[in-house]
Point group: C2
Chain length 309, copies 2
Protein backbone atom coordinates (compact mmCIF):
# COMPACT_ATOMS: atom_id res chain seq x y z
CA UNK A 1 0.00 0.00 0.00
CA UNK A 2 1.41 3.37 -1.10
CA UNK A 3 -1.57 5.61 -0.59
CA UNK A 4 -4.52 5.72 1.78
CA UNK A 5 -7.53 7.98 2.17
CA UNK A 6 -9.52 7.74 5.38
CA UNK A 7 -12.42 9.26 7.27
CA UNK A 8 -11.73 9.87 10.96
CA UNK A 9 -14.86 10.66 12.96
CA UNK A 10 -15.78 13.49 15.25
CA UNK A 11 -16.50 12.26 18.75
CA UNK A 12 -18.62 13.19 21.76
CA UNK A 13 -16.68 12.71 24.99
CA UNK A 14 -18.04 12.46 28.55
CA UNK A 15 -21.62 11.69 27.42
CA UNK A 16 -23.20 13.30 30.52
CA UNK A 17 -22.37 11.06 33.48
CA UNK A 18 -19.12 9.61 32.09
CA UNK A 19 -16.73 12.55 32.48
CA UNK A 20 -13.23 11.62 31.24
CA UNK A 21 -14.34 8.01 30.77
CA UNK A 22 -16.94 7.73 27.99
CA UNK A 23 -16.90 8.68 24.33
CA UNK A 24 -18.86 7.96 21.17
CA UNK A 25 -18.08 8.35 17.48
CA UNK A 26 -20.20 10.12 14.86
CA UNK A 27 -21.02 8.80 11.41
CA UNK A 28 -21.39 11.96 9.36
CA UNK A 29 -18.89 14.43 10.79
CA UNK A 30 -15.12 14.09 10.77
CA UNK A 31 -11.82 14.65 9.03
CA UNK A 32 -10.75 13.28 5.68
CA UNK A 33 -7.05 12.51 5.57
CA UNK A 34 -4.62 11.08 3.02
CA UNK A 35 -1.31 9.34 3.59
CA UNK A 36 1.17 8.89 0.76
CA UNK A 37 4.48 7.05 0.89
CA UNK A 38 7.41 9.18 -0.28
CA UNK A 39 11.07 8.52 -1.00
CA UNK A 40 12.19 11.17 1.49
CA UNK A 41 12.07 9.85 5.04
CA UNK A 42 10.07 11.69 7.67
CA UNK A 43 6.59 13.15 8.04
CA UNK A 44 5.38 16.09 5.98
CA UNK A 45 1.96 17.65 6.33
CA UNK A 46 1.53 19.00 2.84
CA UNK A 47 -1.96 20.48 3.06
CA UNK A 48 -4.62 21.35 5.61
CA UNK A 49 -8.01 22.60 4.43
CA UNK A 50 -11.10 23.53 6.40
CA UNK A 51 -9.24 25.07 9.33
CA UNK A 52 -6.19 27.19 10.05
CA UNK A 53 -3.79 24.73 11.69
CA UNK A 54 0.02 24.46 11.67
CA UNK A 55 1.63 22.45 8.88
CA UNK A 56 4.72 21.90 11.04
CA UNK A 57 4.49 18.20 11.95
CA UNK A 58 6.16 18.78 15.30
CA UNK A 59 3.28 20.93 16.58
CA UNK A 60 0.35 19.44 14.64
CA UNK A 61 -1.73 16.73 16.41
CA UNK A 62 -1.48 14.38 13.42
CA UNK A 63 2.20 15.18 12.89
CA UNK A 64 3.16 14.52 16.50
CA UNK A 65 1.48 11.13 16.36
CA UNK A 66 3.02 10.16 13.02
CA UNK A 67 6.52 11.18 14.15
CA UNK A 68 6.20 9.12 17.35
CA UNK A 69 5.11 6.09 15.37
CA UNK A 70 8.04 6.32 12.95
CA UNK A 71 10.38 6.67 15.90
CA UNK A 72 8.99 3.45 17.39
CA UNK A 73 8.80 1.69 14.03
CA UNK A 74 11.41 3.16 11.67
CA UNK A 75 10.57 2.91 7.95
CA UNK A 76 12.68 3.27 4.83
CA UNK A 77 10.16 5.71 3.40
CA UNK A 78 8.53 8.97 4.38
CA UNK A 79 4.82 9.88 4.59
CA UNK A 80 3.04 12.95 3.23
CA UNK A 81 -0.18 13.74 5.02
CA UNK A 82 -3.08 15.93 3.96
CA UNK A 83 -5.93 16.83 6.29
CA UNK A 84 -9.32 18.16 5.40
CA UNK A 85 -11.02 19.28 8.62
CA UNK A 86 -14.69 18.47 8.14
CA UNK A 87 -15.70 20.55 11.15
CA UNK A 88 -14.46 23.43 13.23
CA UNK A 89 -11.69 22.97 15.82
CA UNK A 90 -12.74 24.07 19.31
CA UNK A 91 -16.25 22.68 18.93
CA UNK A 92 -16.00 20.11 21.70
CA UNK A 93 -16.31 17.31 19.15
CA UNK A 94 -12.76 16.03 19.40
CA UNK A 95 -11.24 17.87 16.46
CA UNK A 96 -7.61 17.32 17.44
CA UNK A 97 -8.57 13.76 18.40
CA UNK A 98 -9.95 13.04 14.92
CA UNK A 99 -6.67 14.15 13.33
CA UNK A 100 -4.52 12.39 15.94
CA UNK A 101 -6.49 9.14 15.74
CA UNK A 102 -6.62 9.39 11.94
CA UNK A 103 -2.84 9.79 11.80
CA UNK A 104 -2.32 6.79 14.07
CA UNK A 105 -4.62 4.68 11.91
CA UNK A 106 -3.27 5.88 8.57
CA UNK A 107 0.43 5.62 9.41
CA UNK A 108 -0.19 2.15 10.86
CA UNK A 109 -1.68 1.02 7.55
CA UNK A 110 1.41 2.15 5.65
CA UNK A 111 3.60 0.44 8.27
CA UNK A 112 1.85 -2.87 7.53
CA UNK A 113 -0.50 -2.86 10.51
CA UNK A 114 2.19 -3.19 13.13
CA UNK A 115 0.21 -1.80 16.05
CA UNK A 116 -2.91 -2.89 17.95
CA UNK A 117 -5.91 -0.54 18.42
CA UNK A 118 -4.77 -0.03 22.02
CA UNK A 119 -1.32 1.02 20.84
CA UNK A 120 -2.86 3.31 18.23
CA UNK A 121 -4.87 4.90 21.03
CA UNK A 122 -1.68 5.45 23.01
CA UNK A 123 -0.01 7.11 20.02
CA UNK A 124 -3.08 9.25 19.38
CA UNK A 125 -3.04 10.39 23.01
CA UNK A 126 0.33 12.04 22.26
CA UNK A 127 -1.47 14.25 19.76
CA UNK A 128 -4.02 15.18 22.41
CA UNK A 129 -1.25 15.99 24.84
CA UNK A 130 0.56 18.17 22.29
CA UNK A 131 -2.52 20.21 21.40
CA UNK A 132 -4.67 20.20 24.57
CA UNK A 133 -2.06 19.71 27.28
CA UNK A 134 -3.57 16.43 28.55
CA UNK A 135 -3.06 12.93 27.10
CA UNK A 136 -6.77 12.25 27.37
CA UNK A 137 -8.09 9.05 25.75
CA UNK A 138 -11.86 9.41 25.59
CA UNK A 139 -12.12 11.11 22.18
CA UNK A 140 -9.26 9.25 20.45
CA UNK A 141 -10.43 5.83 21.67
CA UNK A 142 -13.96 6.49 20.40
CA UNK A 143 -12.53 7.51 17.00
CA UNK A 144 -10.29 4.42 16.77
CA UNK A 145 -12.63 1.75 18.16
CA UNK A 146 -15.90 3.30 17.00
CA UNK A 147 -19.22 3.13 18.81
CA UNK A 148 -19.30 3.88 22.50
CA UNK A 149 -16.01 3.43 24.30
CA UNK A 150 -15.17 3.36 27.98
CA UNK A 151 -11.68 4.32 29.11
CA UNK A 152 -11.74 1.88 32.01
CA UNK A 153 -8.23 2.62 33.16
CA UNK A 154 -5.27 4.83 32.27
CA UNK A 155 -2.59 2.83 34.08
CA UNK A 156 -2.48 0.50 32.31
CA UNK A 157 -4.58 1.92 29.48
CA UNK A 158 -7.69 -0.20 29.05
CA UNK A 159 -10.43 0.56 26.54
CA UNK A 160 -13.79 -1.23 26.51
CA UNK A 161 -16.02 -1.10 23.45
CA UNK A 162 -19.67 -0.94 24.49
CA UNK A 163 -22.46 -2.13 22.14
CA UNK A 164 -24.70 0.51 20.56
CA UNK A 165 -28.48 0.11 20.17
CA UNK A 166 -29.27 0.31 16.45
CA UNK A 167 -31.74 3.20 16.63
CA UNK A 168 -29.55 5.53 18.65
CA UNK A 169 -28.99 8.91 16.97
CA UNK A 170 -26.99 11.97 17.92
CA UNK A 171 -28.38 15.45 17.35
CA UNK A 172 -26.03 18.27 18.27
CA UNK A 173 -25.72 22.01 18.01
CA UNK A 174 -22.41 23.80 17.80
CA UNK A 175 -22.88 27.45 18.76
CA UNK A 176 -20.03 29.47 17.27
CA UNK A 177 -18.61 30.68 20.56
CA UNK A 178 -15.21 29.87 21.92
CA UNK A 179 -14.84 27.64 24.98
CA UNK A 180 -11.19 26.92 25.65
CA UNK A 181 -10.57 23.41 27.03
CA UNK A 182 -8.28 25.03 29.59
CA UNK A 183 -11.07 27.33 30.81
CA UNK A 184 -13.57 24.48 30.83
CA UNK A 185 -11.15 22.47 32.99
CA UNK A 186 -10.54 25.43 35.31
CA UNK A 187 -14.20 25.66 36.37
CA UNK A 188 -14.31 22.03 37.50
CA UNK A 189 -14.36 21.24 41.21
CA UNK A 190 -11.14 19.58 42.38
CA UNK A 191 -13.11 17.71 45.04
CA UNK A 192 -16.67 16.42 45.11
CA UNK A 193 -18.75 14.83 47.83
CA UNK A 194 -18.73 11.04 48.05
CA UNK A 195 -22.53 11.23 47.88
CA UNK A 196 -22.44 13.00 44.50
CA UNK A 197 -19.80 10.57 43.25
CA UNK A 198 -22.09 7.64 44.14
CA UNK A 199 -24.99 9.27 42.26
CA UNK A 200 -22.74 9.75 39.24
CA UNK A 201 -21.26 6.24 39.16
CA UNK A 202 -24.70 4.70 39.57
CA UNK A 203 -25.70 6.57 36.41
CA UNK A 204 -22.54 5.44 34.60
CA UNK A 205 -23.52 1.87 35.52
CA UNK A 206 -27.06 2.49 34.29
CA UNK A 207 -25.91 3.98 31.00
CA UNK A 208 -23.55 1.08 30.29
CA UNK A 209 -26.28 -1.42 31.19
CA UNK A 210 -28.82 0.41 29.02
CA UNK A 211 -26.46 0.35 26.03
CA UNK A 212 -25.83 -3.38 26.48
CA UNK A 213 -29.52 -4.23 26.81
CA UNK A 214 -31.03 -1.79 24.26
CA UNK A 215 -32.99 -0.24 27.11
CA UNK A 216 -33.66 3.27 25.83
CA UNK A 217 -35.56 4.28 28.96
CA UNK A 218 -32.60 3.29 31.12
CA UNK A 219 -30.26 5.19 28.79
CA UNK A 220 -32.52 8.23 29.12
CA UNK A 221 -32.71 7.96 32.91
CA UNK A 222 -28.93 7.58 33.19
CA UNK A 223 -27.98 10.55 30.99
CA UNK A 224 -27.56 12.73 34.04
CA UNK A 225 -24.49 14.66 35.10
CA UNK A 226 -24.67 16.29 38.51
CA UNK A 227 -20.98 17.17 38.69
CA UNK A 228 -19.46 18.55 35.49
CA UNK A 229 -22.49 19.96 33.67
CA UNK A 230 -23.57 22.24 36.55
CA UNK A 231 -20.02 23.63 36.73
CA UNK A 232 -19.64 24.21 33.00
CA UNK A 233 -23.03 24.98 31.54
CA UNK A 234 -22.75 28.74 32.12
CA UNK A 235 -19.95 28.73 29.50
CA UNK A 236 -22.48 27.66 26.86
CA UNK A 237 -25.14 30.17 25.85
CA UNK A 238 -28.72 28.95 26.30
CA UNK A 239 -27.66 25.49 27.42
CA UNK A 240 -30.60 24.93 29.75
CA UNK A 241 -33.14 26.08 27.17
CA UNK A 242 -31.70 23.81 24.47
CA UNK A 243 -31.60 20.85 26.83
CA UNK A 244 -35.14 21.35 28.10
CA UNK A 245 -36.58 21.84 24.62
CA UNK A 246 -34.69 18.83 23.24
CA UNK A 247 -36.00 16.54 25.97
CA UNK A 248 -39.50 17.96 25.52
CA UNK A 249 -39.20 17.10 21.81
CA UNK A 250 -38.35 13.50 22.69
CA UNK A 251 -34.58 13.37 23.16
CA UNK A 252 -33.40 10.70 25.61
CA UNK A 253 -31.08 13.24 27.16
CA UNK A 254 -28.74 16.11 26.43
CA UNK A 255 -25.42 17.33 27.71
CA UNK A 256 -22.18 19.10 26.94
CA UNK A 257 -20.05 17.42 24.28
CA UNK A 258 -16.53 17.21 25.68
CA UNK A 259 -15.67 20.61 27.08
CA UNK A 260 -18.21 22.33 24.84
CA UNK A 261 -19.58 24.51 23.40
CA UNK A 262 -21.36 21.79 21.39
CA UNK A 263 -24.52 20.50 23.06
CA UNK A 264 -25.29 16.89 22.16
CA UNK A 265 -28.51 14.95 22.52
CA UNK A 266 -29.17 11.24 22.12
CA UNK A 267 -32.43 10.22 20.46
CA UNK A 268 -34.20 7.00 19.60
CA UNK A 269 -34.91 6.70 15.89
CA UNK A 270 -34.75 9.03 12.90
CA UNK A 271 -38.16 10.58 13.38
CA UNK A 272 -37.50 11.76 16.92
CA UNK A 273 -33.99 12.85 15.94
CA UNK A 274 -35.39 15.04 13.16
CA UNK A 275 -37.94 16.54 15.48
CA UNK A 276 -35.27 17.28 18.10
CA UNK A 277 -33.05 18.75 15.36
CA UNK A 278 -35.78 21.20 14.30
CA UNK A 279 -36.64 22.08 17.89
CA UNK A 280 -33.04 22.92 18.77
CA UNK A 281 -32.64 24.85 15.53
CA UNK A 282 -35.75 26.90 16.35
CA UNK A 283 -34.54 27.49 19.89
CA UNK A 284 -31.31 29.02 18.57
CA UNK A 285 -32.79 30.82 15.56
CA UNK A 286 -33.27 34.15 17.33
CA UNK A 287 -30.18 34.10 19.54
CA UNK A 288 -27.85 36.24 17.42
CA UNK A 289 -25.25 33.50 17.61
CA UNK A 290 -24.15 31.54 14.53
CA UNK A 291 -24.45 27.79 14.90
CA UNK A 292 -24.09 24.47 13.07
CA UNK A 293 -26.49 21.58 13.45
CA UNK A 294 -25.54 17.90 13.33
CA UNK A 295 -27.68 14.78 12.98
CA UNK A 296 -25.77 11.52 12.91
CA UNK A 297 -25.94 7.82 13.54
CA UNK A 298 -23.39 6.41 15.94
CA UNK A 299 -20.36 5.29 13.93
CA UNK A 300 -19.81 1.75 15.18
CA UNK A 301 -16.77 1.10 12.95
CA UNK A 302 -14.51 3.97 13.87
CA UNK A 303 -12.03 5.21 11.28
CA UNK A 304 -12.93 4.12 7.75
CA UNK A 305 -10.73 3.52 4.71
CA UNK A 306 -12.18 5.45 1.76
CA UNK A 307 -9.53 4.63 -0.85
CA UNK A 308 -6.15 2.89 -1.21
CA UNK A 309 -3.62 2.02 -3.84
Amino acid sequence: MNYLKIFSPATVANVSCGFDALGLALETVGDTMTFTKTATKGIKITQITGADLPLDAKVNAAGVVALAMLEKHPADFGIDITIHKGYTPGSGLGSSAASAAGAAFGVNQLLGNSFTPLELTQFAMLGEEATCGTPIADNVSAAIYGGFTLVRSYEPLSIVKIPVPADLRVVAIHPQVEVKTKDARAVLPKEITLKDAVTQWANVGGLISGLHSNDYQLIADSLTDIIVEPARKHLIPHFDEVKQQAIKAGALGAGISGSGPTIFTLCKGDETAESVYKTIQNTYQDKQIDFNMILSKINTEGIKILDTN
Copy 2:
Protein backbone atom coordinates in the same frame (compact mmCIF):
# COMPACT_ATOMS: atom_id res chain seq x y z
CA MET B 1 -52.64 -18.79 50.61
CA ASN B 2 -52.57 -19.02 54.42
CA TYR B 3 -49.00 -20.02 55.00
CA LEU B 4 -45.68 -19.36 53.30
CA LYS B 5 -42.12 -20.46 53.94
CA ILE B 6 -39.35 -18.63 52.13
CA PHE B 7 -35.59 -18.36 51.79
CA SER B 8 -34.27 -14.80 51.74
CA PRO B 9 -30.64 -14.57 50.64
CA ALA B 10 -27.61 -12.98 52.17
CA THR B 11 -26.18 -10.27 49.95
CA VAL B 12 -22.85 -8.65 49.17
CA ALA B 13 -23.22 -4.88 48.79
CA ASN B 14 -20.79 -2.42 47.17
CA VAL B 15 -18.88 -5.14 45.24
CA SER B 16 -15.60 -3.18 45.26
CA CYS B 17 -16.06 -0.19 42.94
CA GLY B 18 -19.84 0.15 43.37
CA PHE B 19 -20.11 1.66 46.85
CA ASP B 20 -23.76 2.25 47.79
CA ALA B 21 -24.84 1.26 44.28
CA LEU B 22 -24.14 -2.42 43.61
CA GLY B 23 -25.26 -5.60 45.32
CA LEU B 24 -25.42 -9.32 44.63
CA ALA B 25 -27.40 -12.18 46.19
CA LEU B 26 -25.99 -15.49 47.46
CA GLU B 27 -27.45 -18.91 46.77
CA THR B 28 -26.50 -20.86 49.89
CA VAL B 29 -26.65 -18.38 52.76
CA GLY B 30 -29.70 -16.56 54.05
CA ASP B 31 -32.71 -16.49 56.36
CA THR B 32 -35.62 -18.92 56.41
CA MET B 33 -38.88 -17.22 57.30
CA THR B 34 -42.49 -18.30 57.67
CA PHE B 35 -45.63 -16.21 57.38
CA THR B 36 -48.95 -17.49 58.73
CA LYS B 37 -52.34 -15.79 58.44
CA THR B 38 -54.05 -15.38 61.83
CA ALA B 39 -57.50 -14.24 62.94
CA THR B 40 -56.04 -11.51 65.16
CA LYS B 41 -55.08 -8.47 63.11
CA GLY B 42 -51.56 -7.12 63.26
CA ILE B 43 -48.02 -8.46 62.97
CA LYS B 44 -46.55 -10.82 65.52
CA ILE B 45 -43.00 -12.15 65.40
CA THR B 46 -43.48 -15.41 67.23
CA GLN B 47 -39.99 -16.88 67.02
CA ILE B 48 -36.46 -15.94 66.05
CA THR B 49 -33.77 -18.60 66.00
CA GLY B 50 -30.10 -18.38 65.06
CA ALA B 51 -29.58 -14.91 66.49
CA ASP B 52 -30.57 -12.76 69.44
CA LEU B 53 -32.92 -10.19 67.90
CA PRO B 54 -35.99 -8.37 69.26
CA LEU B 55 -39.37 -10.04 68.84
CA ASP B 56 -41.09 -6.66 69.14
CA ALA B 57 -42.31 -6.01 65.59
CA LYS B 58 -41.91 -2.25 65.98
CA VAL B 59 -38.12 -2.52 66.36
CA ASN B 60 -37.41 -5.63 64.30
CA ALA B 61 -36.37 -5.12 60.64
CA ALA B 62 -38.94 -7.64 59.40
CA GLY B 63 -41.61 -6.33 61.74
CA VAL B 64 -41.16 -2.69 60.73
CA VAL B 65 -41.54 -3.67 57.07
CA ALA B 66 -44.61 -5.85 57.68
CA LEU B 67 -46.34 -3.16 59.75
CA ALA B 68 -45.74 -0.53 57.06
CA MET B 69 -47.19 -2.83 54.41
CA LEU B 70 -50.34 -3.51 56.41
CA GLU B 71 -50.73 0.20 56.99
CA LYS B 72 -50.59 0.80 53.24
CA HIS B 73 -52.71 -2.23 52.41
CA PRO B 74 -55.01 -3.04 55.36
CA ALA B 75 -56.04 -6.69 55.68
CA ASP B 76 -58.81 -8.43 57.62
CA PHE B 77 -56.27 -10.87 59.04
CA GLY B 78 -53.03 -10.76 60.99
CA ILE B 79 -49.67 -12.34 60.19
CA ASP B 80 -47.41 -14.38 62.45
CA ILE B 81 -43.78 -14.35 61.37
CA THR B 82 -40.94 -16.68 62.33
CA ILE B 83 -37.34 -16.01 61.37
CA HIS B 84 -34.47 -18.43 61.31
CA LYS B 85 -31.28 -16.42 60.85
CA GLY B 86 -29.06 -18.62 58.71
CA TYR B 87 -26.01 -16.48 59.38
CA THR B 88 -24.70 -14.02 61.92
CA PRO B 89 -25.96 -10.43 62.05
CA GLY B 90 -23.16 -7.87 61.76
CA SER B 91 -21.29 -9.92 59.15
CA GLY B 92 -21.56 -7.38 56.33
CA LEU B 93 -23.73 -9.80 54.36
CA GLY B 94 -26.98 -7.87 54.69
CA SER B 95 -28.49 -9.69 57.65
CA SER B 96 -31.13 -7.08 58.44
CA ALA B 97 -31.71 -6.73 54.69
CA ALA B 98 -32.45 -10.45 54.32
CA SER B 99 -35.11 -10.25 57.05
CA ALA B 100 -36.51 -6.93 55.77
CA ALA B 101 -36.63 -8.09 52.15
CA GLY B 102 -38.01 -11.46 53.21
CA ALA B 103 -40.78 -9.75 55.18
CA ALA B 104 -41.67 -7.54 52.23
CA PHE B 105 -41.83 -10.57 49.94
CA GLY B 106 -43.72 -12.84 52.36
CA VAL B 107 -46.31 -10.31 53.46
CA ASN B 108 -46.90 -9.36 49.83
CA GLN B 109 -47.68 -13.00 48.99
CA LEU B 110 -50.31 -13.14 51.74
CA LEU B 111 -51.72 -9.81 50.53
CA GLY B 112 -52.29 -11.33 47.09
CA ASN B 113 -49.22 -9.86 45.39
CA SER B 114 -50.36 -6.28 45.61
CA PHE B 115 -46.94 -4.66 45.30
CA THR B 116 -44.26 -4.52 42.59
CA PRO B 117 -40.64 -5.54 43.27
CA LEU B 118 -39.75 -1.83 43.34
CA GLU B 119 -42.40 -1.19 45.99
CA LEU B 120 -41.20 -4.21 47.97
CA THR B 121 -37.71 -2.71 47.86
CA GLN B 122 -39.07 0.58 49.21
CA PHE B 123 -40.80 -1.23 52.07
CA ALA B 124 -37.69 -3.27 52.82
CA MET B 125 -35.64 -0.05 52.96
CA LEU B 126 -37.76 0.94 55.99
CA GLY B 127 -36.36 -2.10 57.78
CA GLU B 128 -32.84 -1.01 56.89
CA GLU B 129 -33.56 2.47 58.18
CA ALA B 130 -34.97 1.11 61.44
CA THR B 131 -31.99 -1.14 62.14
CA CYS B 132 -29.01 0.60 60.47
CA GLY B 133 -30.12 4.23 60.50
CA THR B 134 -30.01 4.60 56.71
CA PRO B 135 -32.70 3.55 54.20
CA ILE B 136 -30.06 1.99 51.98
CA ALA B 137 -31.26 -0.09 49.02
CA ASP B 138 -28.26 -2.06 47.80
CA ASN B 139 -28.68 -5.15 49.98
CA VAL B 140 -32.48 -5.31 49.96
CA SER B 141 -32.73 -4.82 46.18
CA ALA B 142 -30.22 -7.64 45.59
CA ALA B 143 -32.26 -9.92 47.89
CA ILE B 144 -35.55 -9.06 46.18
CA TYR B 145 -34.46 -8.97 42.53
CA GLY B 146 -31.70 -11.57 42.80
CA GLY B 147 -28.47 -11.60 40.81
CA PHE B 148 -26.51 -8.40 40.55
CA THR B 149 -28.49 -5.23 41.11
CA LEU B 150 -27.63 -1.60 40.53
CA VAL B 151 -29.37 1.08 42.57
CA ARG B 152 -29.29 3.58 39.71
CA SER B 153 -31.15 6.29 41.56
CA TYR B 154 -32.74 6.95 44.94
CA GLU B 155 -34.99 9.82 43.90
CA PRO B 156 -36.96 8.30 42.34
CA LEU B 157 -35.83 4.82 43.36
CA SER B 158 -34.63 2.92 40.30
CA ILE B 159 -33.22 -0.61 40.41
CA VAL B 160 -31.52 -2.25 37.43
CA LYS B 161 -31.02 -6.01 37.33
CA ILE B 162 -27.70 -6.87 35.70
CA PRO B 163 -27.11 -10.27 34.05
CA VAL B 164 -24.78 -12.71 35.79
CA PRO B 165 -22.23 -14.88 33.95
CA ALA B 166 -23.08 -18.52 34.69
CA ASP B 167 -19.71 -19.52 36.13
CA LEU B 168 -19.42 -16.70 38.63
CA ARG B 169 -18.93 -17.88 42.21
CA VAL B 170 -18.60 -16.06 45.50
CA VAL B 171 -16.09 -17.20 48.11
CA ALA B 172 -16.15 -15.23 51.35
CA ILE B 173 -14.71 -15.30 54.80
CA HIS B 174 -16.48 -13.87 57.81
CA PRO B 175 -13.95 -13.21 60.58
CA GLN B 176 -15.81 -13.13 63.89
CA VAL B 177 -14.92 -9.56 64.76
CA GLU B 178 -17.38 -6.74 65.15
CA VAL B 179 -17.43 -3.89 62.63
CA LYS B 180 -20.32 -1.56 63.35
CA THR B 181 -21.90 -0.07 60.23
CA LYS B 182 -21.81 3.29 62.00
CA ASP B 183 -18.04 3.03 62.54
CA ALA B 184 -17.49 1.80 58.99
CA ARG B 185 -19.41 4.86 57.75
CA ALA B 186 -17.48 7.21 60.04
CA VAL B 187 -14.10 6.37 58.45
CA LEU B 188 -15.30 7.28 54.96
CA PRO B 189 -14.10 10.50 53.38
CA LYS B 190 -16.87 13.07 52.99
CA GLU B 191 -15.15 14.44 49.90
CA ILE B 192 -13.01 12.78 47.26
CA THR B 193 -11.02 14.16 44.35
CA LEU B 194 -12.76 14.33 41.00
CA LYS B 195 -9.81 12.35 39.62
CA ASP B 196 -10.46 9.44 42.00
CA ALA B 197 -14.17 9.59 41.28
CA VAL B 198 -13.45 9.26 37.54
CA THR B 199 -11.23 6.23 38.19
CA GLN B 200 -13.99 4.66 40.27
CA TRP B 201 -16.86 5.27 37.84
CA ALA B 202 -14.78 3.97 34.96
CA ASN B 203 -14.45 0.73 36.93
CA VAL B 204 -18.18 0.66 37.68
CA GLY B 205 -18.76 0.98 33.93
CA GLY B 206 -16.24 -1.80 33.29
CA LEU B 207 -17.80 -4.13 35.84
CA ILE B 208 -21.31 -3.63 34.46
CA SER B 209 -20.04 -4.18 30.92
CA GLY B 210 -18.10 -7.30 31.96
CA LEU B 211 -21.20 -8.78 33.62
CA HIS B 212 -23.30 -8.11 30.51
CA SER B 213 -20.73 -9.60 28.14
CA ASN B 214 -19.46 -12.55 30.25
CA ASP B 215 -16.02 -10.98 30.11
CA TYR B 216 -14.34 -12.40 33.20
CA GLN B 217 -11.08 -10.56 32.53
CA LEU B 218 -12.94 -7.26 32.41
CA ILE B 219 -14.78 -8.16 35.60
CA ALA B 220 -11.44 -8.93 37.25
CA ASP B 221 -9.84 -5.70 36.02
CA SER B 222 -12.82 -3.65 37.21
CA LEU B 223 -13.03 -5.09 40.74
CA THR B 224 -11.04 -2.19 42.09
CA ASP B 225 -12.02 0.24 44.82
CA ILE B 226 -9.67 3.15 45.36
CA ILE B 227 -12.02 5.08 47.64
CA VAL B 228 -13.86 3.02 50.25
CA GLU B 229 -11.61 -0.01 50.63
CA PRO B 230 -8.47 2.00 51.50
CA ALA B 231 -10.46 3.88 54.16
CA ARG B 232 -12.03 0.80 55.70
CA LYS B 233 -9.67 -2.10 55.33
CA HIS B 234 -7.82 -1.45 58.60
CA LEU B 235 -11.08 -2.40 60.38
CA ILE B 236 -10.77 -5.93 59.00
CA PRO B 237 -7.93 -8.09 60.33
CA HIS B 238 -5.56 -9.44 57.66
CA PHE B 239 -7.60 -7.96 54.80
CA ASP B 240 -4.61 -7.33 52.53
CA GLU B 241 -3.20 -10.81 53.08
CA VAL B 242 -6.53 -12.51 52.33
CA LYS B 243 -7.04 -10.41 49.22
CA GLN B 244 -3.55 -10.99 47.88
CA GLN B 245 -3.65 -14.73 48.53
CA ALA B 246 -7.13 -15.06 47.02
CA ILE B 247 -6.08 -13.31 43.83
CA LYS B 248 -2.90 -15.38 43.70
CA ALA B 249 -5.11 -18.47 43.95
CA GLY B 250 -7.14 -17.34 40.95
CA ALA B 251 -9.89 -15.10 42.30
CA LEU B 252 -11.06 -12.41 39.88
CA GLY B 253 -10.97 -9.91 42.71
CA ALA B 254 -11.70 -9.41 46.37
CA GLY B 255 -13.12 -6.69 48.54
CA ILE B 256 -15.09 -5.79 51.62
CA SER B 257 -18.66 -7.10 51.67
CA GLY B 258 -20.86 -4.17 52.63
CA SER B 259 -19.30 -2.50 55.62
CA GLY B 260 -17.47 -5.69 56.62
CA PRO B 261 -15.97 -7.59 58.29
CA THR B 262 -16.75 -10.23 55.64
CA ILE B 263 -14.23 -10.28 52.80
CA PHE B 264 -15.75 -11.48 49.52
CA THR B 265 -14.06 -12.73 46.38
CA LEU B 266 -15.51 -13.42 42.95
CA CYS B 267 -14.19 -16.47 41.10
CA LYS B 268 -14.75 -18.09 37.71
CA GLY B 269 -15.90 -21.69 38.04
CA ASP B 270 -16.15 -24.21 40.85
CA GLU B 271 -12.59 -25.43 40.67
CA THR B 272 -11.05 -22.00 41.15
CA ALA B 273 -13.63 -21.17 43.81
CA GLU B 274 -12.66 -24.26 45.79
CA SER B 275 -9.00 -23.45 45.50
CA VAL B 276 -9.61 -19.86 46.63
CA TYR B 277 -11.76 -21.18 49.49
CA LYS B 278 -8.92 -23.39 50.75
CA THR B 279 -6.33 -20.67 50.31
CA ILE B 280 -8.32 -18.15 52.35
CA GLN B 281 -9.07 -20.78 54.98
CA ASN B 282 -5.35 -21.55 55.27
CA THR B 283 -4.51 -17.87 55.47
CA TYR B 284 -6.80 -17.44 58.47
CA GLN B 285 -6.08 -20.77 60.15
CA ASP B 286 -3.35 -19.45 62.45
CA LYS B 287 -4.83 -16.01 63.18
CA GLN B 288 -6.48 -16.73 66.54
CA ILE B 289 -9.73 -15.32 65.17
CA ASP B 290 -12.79 -17.50 64.64
CA PHE B 291 -14.20 -17.36 61.14
CA ASN B 292 -16.85 -18.82 58.82
CA MET B 293 -16.23 -19.65 55.18
CA ILE B 294 -18.78 -19.33 52.38
CA LEU B 295 -18.79 -20.70 48.84
CA SER B 296 -21.86 -19.86 46.81
CA LYS B 297 -23.24 -19.42 43.35
CA ILE B 298 -24.89 -16.10 42.62
CA ASN B 299 -28.59 -16.40 43.39
CA THR B 300 -30.21 -15.07 40.21
CA GLU B 301 -33.78 -15.56 41.45
CA GLY B 302 -33.76 -13.64 44.71
CA ILE B 303 -36.15 -14.70 47.46
CA LYS B 304 -37.46 -18.24 46.98
CA ILE B 305 -40.72 -19.82 48.09
CA LEU B 306 -39.94 -23.10 49.89
CA ASP B 307 -43.47 -24.10 50.89
CA THR B 308 -47.04 -22.80 50.86
CA ASN B 309 -50.52 -23.92 51.78
